[in-house]
């Protein structure tokens, strides 16, 4: 066994701000980005004495929707709990969250695995698809926001309660992720699905999607299938882009590896990520960890979810994976094209809209993907017109294109010879030459087809 081989073990907690109209437990408007401080507040979200929380039905439905999209189970009864701690941004001295009975649990999300480590790999799939198990999906409320400013020459901390009580969904994975690529892959996939559901903006920079990475390393042992989790984990917070997720994980892997190589065990702690220095730094150690004194929220009765469930199954939209399969089947698209088109739902809808308006499925896919059509600029109908015009242009151009190709082949006889001898890669060079000759107007696929025909 190579002592210097380590397996990276990562679990991710994601917080999503739902884009419901009102807050989680009161009727205040939930919007808080670039809003005048403390204008979306009421006794409930200010935590004033005597005020009581009334749960937002829509937010709960959306939480179930997310759970369902992540293949989770849900129980008959669910409840809210109080998480008690002191912080100036916490209006009531506790956060209403879920502890014992989260709305959804035991789901999974399939991602493209990037490592050779075959944990939870689905062997039936041609590419190494990997199931990341979801431990739980639960509902809670956001805290207020602290602003550290100087007022009249004095350093002060101000509290903006507009964010207080905005609905948050927390999604927690099992420790199934084994590399920075997989972590990013998971987050991107999650973001894609949530955006499909239309329940959150999932904007990491604006804070409507936040993630905490739990990471530890273990000396690699075989068989890997029954390894034991390490006895420590490091939590990394304050990461606000996919790029930084990758950097933070890679920095942390190196840091922990160094410690382990020296025979030391990394301590259990919470670390922040400094974007400027591209490093993680220690924030809080285990000894300072909170005892949150969770207990059932007495102000909110048990939530019976049998009624909710039937409603949710009716509204769950087609998710990226299903859409991709359908695009392949119905429109005869390649796996690659289909997967790009479904990356975000606007693009996918735009594609289908164009096809329905009379666009040729293949041509539409090509133009959206290769020409990077600004889908906000053209309506699908306009695009169809454009496509049809292009087609007629192309037909009249075919003769011209043949001419160009013949010229290019004459000028590059060596390359043509090489290709015929079996050096397939020169085709790329020839295509490039033709496209350059036509000032970029020629379609690469068509050129390739014509070239191959001529070279046969």
């Amino acid at each position: 066994m190579n002592k210097n081989n380590y397996l990276t073990i990562i679990g991710i907690e994601v917080h999503l701000e739902l884009k419901t109209k009102s807050k989680m437990f009161c009727g205040c408007c939930a919007g808080h980005f670039r809003v005048k401080p403390n204008t979306h507040t009421c006794p409930v979200c200010l935590g004033l004495p005597g005020a009581l929380p009334v749960p937002n039905r829509k937010a709960i439905e959306w939480c179930f929707l997310i759970g369902k999209a992540l293949n989770c189970n849900s129980r008959e009864d669910s409840s809210f709990d109080r998480k008690n701690y002191f912080y100036p941004d916490l209006a009531k001295g506790f956060q209403i969250s879920q502890f014992n009975q989260p709305f959804c649990r035991e789901g999974f999300l399939t991602i493209k695995g990037s490592t050779l480590i075959r944990i939870n790999l689905d062997k039936d799939k041609p590419f190494p698809s990997k199931k990341v198990r979801i431990n739980r999906v639960h509902m809670e409320e956001d805290t207020a926001k602290l602003l550290h400013k100087i007022v009249d020459g004095e350093k002060v901390s101000l509290i903006d309660f507009n964010r207080s009580g905005v609905p948050l969904v927390e999604i927690v994975t099992e420790a199934d992720i084994n590399s920075s690529q997989e972590a990013v892959e998971y987050l991107k996939k999650l973001q894609q699905i949530i955006r499909y559901l239309g329940v959150s903006d999932c904007d990491m920079e604006k804070g409507s999607m936040r993630c905490e990475i739990n990471i530890s390393l273990i000396s690699q042992q075989f068989p890997i299938s029954n390894f034991k989790l390490p006895n420590y984990k490091v939590e990394i917070k304050n990461i606000n882009s996919f790029k930084f997720v990758k950097r933070a994980i890679e920095y942390e892997i190196t840091r922990q590896k160094e410690l382990l190589k020296r025979g030391e065990s990394p301590i259990q702690e919470t670390r922040g990520f400094n974007e400027n220095r591209q490093k993680t730094y220690s924030q809080r150690s285990k000894e300072e960890a909170h005892d949150y004194r969770y207990f059932p929220e007495p102000d909110i009765p048990l939530i019976k979810i049998s009624n909710l469930k039937s409603q949710i199954s009716n509204v769950i939209p087609e998710l990226p994976e299903e859409k991709k399969e359908r695009f392949i089947k119905v429109y005869n698209l390649s796996e690659y094209n289909a997967s790009i088109l479904v990356l975000d739902i606007q693009k996918a809808d735009y594609y289908e809209g164009t096809v329905k308006a009379g666009g040729d499925p293949q041509g539409t896919a090509n133009i959206i993907i290769n020409k990077r059509i600004d889908i906000n600029k053209f309506t699908p109908k306009q695009l169809v017109k454009h496509l049809q015009k292009q087609k007629t242009d192309k037909v009249s151009d075919t003769a011209k294109l043949n001419e160009v190709i013949d010229n290019i082949l004459k000028q590059n006889q060596k390359a043509a010879y090489d290709f015929k001898k079996g050096k397939q890669e020169v085709i790329g060079f020839l295509i490039g030459q033709v496209i350059r000759e036509t000032a970029g107007k020629a379609d690469a696929q068509t050129v390739k087809k014509l070239l191959i025909e001529k070279l046969k």
């Binding site: 004495p49 009334v54 969770y294 102000d299």
Partner: protein, 484 residues
Amino acid sequence: MLNSQFSNLNQLTIVEVLKGLKGKKFSAVELTQACLDRIKRVDDKVKAFITVCTKEALEKAKEADREIKKDSKVFDKKPLMGIPFSMKDVYCTKGIETTAGSKILESYIPQYNATVYQKLLDVGGILIGKTNCDAWGHGVSTENSDYFTTHNPWNLEFVAGGSSGGCGAALASDMTLFSIGEDTGGSIRLPSSFCSTSGLKVTYGRVSRYGAIAYASSLDTVGPMAKTVEDLSLILNIIAGKDQLDATTSANQVPDYWKSLTSKVRGLSIGLPREFFGKGIDKEVKRLVLQAVEKLKENGFRTVEVTIPMLKYAIPVYYLLACSETSSNLGRYDGIRYGHNRNSFGAEAKRRIMLGTFALSAGYYDQCYLKAQKARTLVIQDYKKAFRECDCIVAPVSPKPPFKIGEKADDPLAMYLEDIYTATINTAGIPSLALPCGFSQKGLPIGMQIIGPQFSEELLFKVGHFYQERTEYHKRKPKVLLHE
């Protein structure tokens, strides 16, 4: 307009006052002034009020008189038009200081109205003041108020009961027509018993808690306190019902409690739980409660012995749950807002915060909080079983007559034991009506409670009213302050 028959307007019941106002025998201003005068004369001895709203109350009374003059049918829409009332100082009243009896909230002015207050305003009620209580409701005698102790109008050396002691004392000394109390473990019933007034602890969920400063959220109930059961029924008609702002309120229909008061009750069976009459009860208390039961029996009720075995765990179960919840509810008074830091918490609040924090801490949760929750289920089952045998239960409110101010001040445990007969009713979430049933030889009031299954307020009122129609205890006035 003042008729000599009504020389002491403040002594009347709501039912009597409504007759007078409707018949234009006197005005709302005269009535309100009578209460305010009474407060001025006796409250420096009784100390029932933390805040008296003289100016606001008189303005409201003038408005009420204008409305009554304009529309004689105004009482159909606003059944409590022109009636002065007081509230325990735990209810948020917009623009009026609300302290919860605590120094932490001294000079705190709420920005919104509690639902119960708003409902009373909407039907023409006139708030004359906010009454004293143990800080946050933590107590049985108002001795834990951070301001002062309320004295018992029947004997000023004695406590008025708690935590809604100010409500009870204000009623017993005729400073108000009715009061809104708050009962978490006996806080309405104990002062009702100690002051010889009537008070209702409602079914959990019957009345909205929105705007009631929380003590223990799963046990807190908002209820009326008045001079008679009949008056209580009029108030509950107004304040009961589903509230969109309190998720724990019930959608159960609200019957007309007042109309059904006089319907038939004969033939009902009364359960007498043996644990409530056993060890530790004062002889006089036992005698007077059983005498009341006798009175009901003479008039066609049957009795049956029932058992509530969980009574022996009443105090630990109640205090573990209540303190756990209060430790969380009081977390918001962290010194950042409200103008006072945590040093302003009184000794009893600190004791309960520590107890609750301990009970919820990792490693103790299972043996403290969780165990108490399991015991709570058993308490509920005990009462369910008992109500298969009987229609309602009659029991004493407190094992002892009222005690002297300072008598138990150094013994928190002795104080906690005052709740022994009342706390399980909160734990079970069921209603209980407290009403006077006699006086001790020293002339101190003794009360009983009529306990029923969930949402049986209608029945409790009927039985209580039936009893008050045949007895005079609730009509007696304390002699001490009679000539003040």
